[in-house]
């Protein structure tokens, strides 16, 4: 195929070859939001391009445009230099563009093989799907990535890590020329992450073009050849990874200098306020006991799937433990539902913000006052003025950014949604606040704000429990760390013992 080699729209076009896939001044708008404005991006065979940017910068939107899930409003997509259209995901697959998406987009009720091949299954006689060929192919691909999964099992019977491997197998099942990975390591454990890096190397060696999206700088610097930075839907920089430092990247992303330093806290903890004694559940956790003081931040570390969320949700009354006791302020507390927990002063900021944390289709003020209606209402009758007052008080304290208090929460950015959830709980004036992965998927700028805020809560005398899978965050924020493994407490560490090595060792059980 003959191509013209001069690419006028390519920002820095020193690459020798023609890009396999290129975006030219692509724009994408949603009602009220411009997700992408005239961005350009080029992917070359055998090269890994890292795409970085804050939450909502438009990274996943680019992925969806490249794979035919969204249609751009302007600009064009080029394959080997000639313009193409991807009306559906199928069309992108047909020319060899494949993606591991940020969310796991698979089918619980279908078999592993069908998940791998849905939409492009091998055909046999009469154009019917050739089931046995499909099984064989999937087994080959799964073996290829070191996953020993029977392709006949239903997807719902797999654990989260295996599901992710199936998603990867699906991306590899078409003979791809371009492989896109949108935060592929977010749900994987360290071991699986290493395997993924190996896979990336292998794909690279096969001459595939790779787009790699991540918030983790260590891995970007480890595997990428070049980088592209988005800010607020616009391209703000690109180049070879060798020519850039982490600080420069961060500055490009956020538009200002950000330090990864955790807030300095005065660690003066008060009296014991909360204790858990012998919490047990038939399948999820066992034998959990600990205590907590006023003004203390207790970190919970563990590998993904260690059962931290499950245990916290039991504390919050979502699931019932089979035995165990909770004491708060010296009194026994019986918690059978979240309503009970809130009544006792225990609140929980869940990991799954969109589904569990906020009611995204209701306005901000209603989200904030939902658990506090008893205080804003009179004899069970609503008083809107009181509600606005309460909502304003707490959202202002958190420096929420929103157009108005009656905007639906779903219209806010991820970080601001998190603030609404926290405001909702602070308005109930709790004693213990549990934060489950409070900074997961949150960009570096917002992250610092959340950390700042946690420190402030502790300073005000709240007892804070923080689940986190990021070691720097756990070490930087906590006074004390409990490490969980397979539903049990592996160890509890304080002071000098709080080192990355101890945490990892206990979390992995080595």
């Amino acid at each position: 195929m003959l191509m013209e080699t001069d690419q006028k729209s390519a920002p820095t076009g020193a690459e020798p070859k023609v890009p396999v896939l290129a975006l030219r001044e692509v724009t994408k708008t949603f009602p009220g939001v411009t997700a992408l404005s005239e961005v350009s991006l080029e992917l070359f065979p055998g090269k890994v391009t890292a795409l970085v940017g804050e939450n909502g910068a438009g990274k996943s939107t680019v992925v969806k445009i490249m794979t035919g899930i969204y249609q751009p409003n302007g600009g064009q997509i080029e394959i080997d230099g000639s313009p193409v259209h991807f009306p559906t995901a199928q069309d992108a697959g047909d020319v060899g563009v494949t993606a591991i998406h940020q969310e796991t987009v698979l089918f619980d009720e279908l078999s592993v093989a069908e998940n791998v091949f849905l939409g492009h299954a091998p055909r046999g006689r009469f154009g019917l799907i050739d089931t046995s060929a499909m099984m064989d192919h999937s087994r080959e691909i799964l073996d290829g990535i070191g996953a020993s999964i029977d392709p006949r099992t239903k997807l719902k019977d797999l654990g989260i890590a295996n599901k992710h491997l199936v998603a990867i197998a699906r991306a590899l099942s078409i003979d791809a020329r371009v492989v896109i990975m949108d935060e592929p390591t977010a749900a994987l454990s360290q071991k699986e992450i290493e395997e993924l890096y190996e896979l990336v190397e292998e794909l690279k060696a096969q001459g595939k073009a790779i787009l790699f999206i991540s918030h983790k700088f260590d891995e970007i610097f480890r595997i990428a050849d070049s980088y592209t930075v988005f800010r607020d839907g616009a391209l703000v920089g690109n180049g070879a990874i060798a020519d850039v430092t982490e600080a420069e990247l961060v500055k490009l992303m956020v538009g200002r200098d950000v330090s990864q330093i955790f807030p300095n806290r005065e660690r003066n903890t008060g009296d014991e306020i909360f204790s858990v004694d012998g919490y047990e559940h038939p399948t999820e956790f066992a034998d959990i006991s600990f205590t907590l003081r006023r003004g203390e931040i207790l970190g919970f570390y563990g590998l993904v799937g260690a059962g931290r969320s499950e245990f916290m949700q039991a504390l919050f009354g979502i699931t019932r433990p089979s035995s165990g006791k909770v004491t708060i302020d010296g009194e026994d507390a019986i918690i059978r539902s979240p309503a009970d927990a809130v009544g006792k002063g225990i609140v929980y900021v869940p990991e799954d913000r969109g589904r569990q944390g906020a009611i995204t289709t209701l306005p901000i003020f209603q989200n904030v006052t939902l658990p506090s209606l008893d205080r804003t209402s009179k004899n069970g009758f609503l008083r809107l003025a009181e509600e606005f007052k309460l909502a304003r008080e707490y959202t202002e304290r958190l420096d929420l950014r929103a157009a108005s208090l009656d905007t639906d929460v779903g219209n806010l950015s991820g970080g601001n949604q998190q603030k609404v959830v926290i405001a909702k709980w602070l308005a109930t004036q709790p004693k213990v606040i549990i934060l489950d992965e409070p900074t997961k998927g949150i960009d570096i700028g917002s992250k610092a704000a959340v950390h700042e805020f946690m420190a402030e809560l502790a300073a005000q005398g709240l007892a804070v429990i923080m689940i986190s899978s990021e070691i720097p965050e756990v070490l930087g924020m906590s006074d004390r760390v409990i490490v969980m493994r397979e539903g049990r407490i592996a160890t509890e560490v304080t002071g000098e013992d709080m080192t990355p090595e101890t945490l990892v060792r206990h979390a992995a059980g080595i």
């Binding site: 559906t88 995901a89 089918f107 999820e284 066992a286 059962g307 397979e486």
Partner: protein, 327 residues
């Protein structure tokens, strides 16, 4: 693998049907004579056909409340055609009924796909509109046995290898759709679109269009059943098969189709239909007052949905090692 077969919904339902037959046989042995069972099957054929269509619709997270009205309207249309042109050969009549039914199904499908109106609202509306259209077409008049041509009436009763054609059509539909559902892209798309619509878009499946095809198939089957129904009972009128849509949904539910979409099978739908068919045929002969029928099928639905829910209940995650070994 065998364990999977024995715990499958279809197997359990077959067991329930055999048990039901055994109970009936204790009071009325002649009921399980092969000829009578063939009769029961033949009687249930319309319900089976409609249940297959409904199952596909429910798979895609929709519901089609207009099936019975579609059946009646198509039945009236082919009857009027038959009255107007008595010489028209039956194959053409069948083609017209399938095409016309499919067309009505497409109306539902378009509204769901292009305007994204919730299926229950769409089909609630078209249900009354279809019925009303029959009234407008027929001016409310019935078409009775003596007005139909003989070949028109004879078709579903014609016997082939000892079974009426009506039964053969149901059997053929079960086989055809079993293959379609398990071995074609469209069939798998129904499962995918209903099981996880979000993921389906990512896999290149147009969920709306898949739903459109589900409604079209349901409509086509309803149209075909419309012809079979009017020719079998030799009558067409506005209220033909009134309220039958609920029996159809009930058959699906009993057959293990999950109302939230994504789960169900053709064989299950057929078994669910047979279960209801056996009950309604058996009550008169075992001398239970027909007034019990409604309460019995209601209880069957509740029990079936409770059992299905039990089977589908999320087991929760197993994190503890000891619990994993225990199960």
């Amino acid at each position: 693998m065998p364990k999977q077969i024995f715990t499958s919904r279809e197997f359990l339902l077959t067991g329930a049907i055999v048990l039901l037959l055994a109970i009936i046989a204790t009071r009325f042995p002649a009921f399980i004579a092969p000829s009578n069972l063939a009769n029961v099957f033949n009687d249930t054929a319309p319900l089976i056909l409609l249940a297959i269509g409904q199952m596909i619709v429910i798979l895609t997270r929709c519901i089609d409340l207009s099936v019975a009205a579609n059946l009646a309207l198509t039945g009236m249309v082919v009857s009027m055609i038959n009255v107007a042109v008595p010489g028209l050969p039956v194959p053409i009549i069948i083609f017209v009924s399938v095409a016309f039914g499919a067309l009505l199904g497409m109306v539902n499908g378009i509204l769901v796909w292009k305007l994204e109106i919730p299926p229950i609202v769409v089909t609630l509306g078209t249900m009354t509109i279809f019925r009303g259209t029959i009234f407008l077409l027929s001016e409310g008049k019935w078409i009775n046995a003596h007005e139909f041509s003989e070949p028109f009436k004879a078709f579903p009763r014609t016997e082939l290898l000892g079974l009426p054609l009506m039964s053969w059509i149901a059997i053929a539909a079960v086989i055809l759709f079993s293959v379609v559902m398990s071995r074609t892209t469209l069939g798998r798309a129904f499962y995918a679109a209903g099981g996880n619509p979000h993921a389906a878009t990512y896999a290149g499946i147009d969920v709306g269009r898949t739903q459109f095809w589900a409604f079209t198939i349901s409509g086509a089957l309803a149209g075909l059943t419309g012809y079979l129904w009017v020719s079998r009972f030799a009558v067409a009128f506005v209220d033909l098969a009134g309220g039958f849509e609920l029996s159809v949904v009930a058959a699906c539910v009993i057959g293990g189709v999950a109302i939230m979409g994504g789960i169900g099978s053709v064989v299950g739908a057929m078994l669910g239909a047979l279960f209801l068919g056996i009950i309604s045929n058996a009550l008169p002969v075992v001398n239970i007052s027909p007034f019990w029928q409604l309460a019995i099928s209601g209880s069957a639905i509740i029990i079936a949905v409770a059992l299905n829910a039990q089977a589908n209940r999320e087991k929760g995650r197993i994190i503890l090692k000891r619990a994993e070994n225990a199960t």
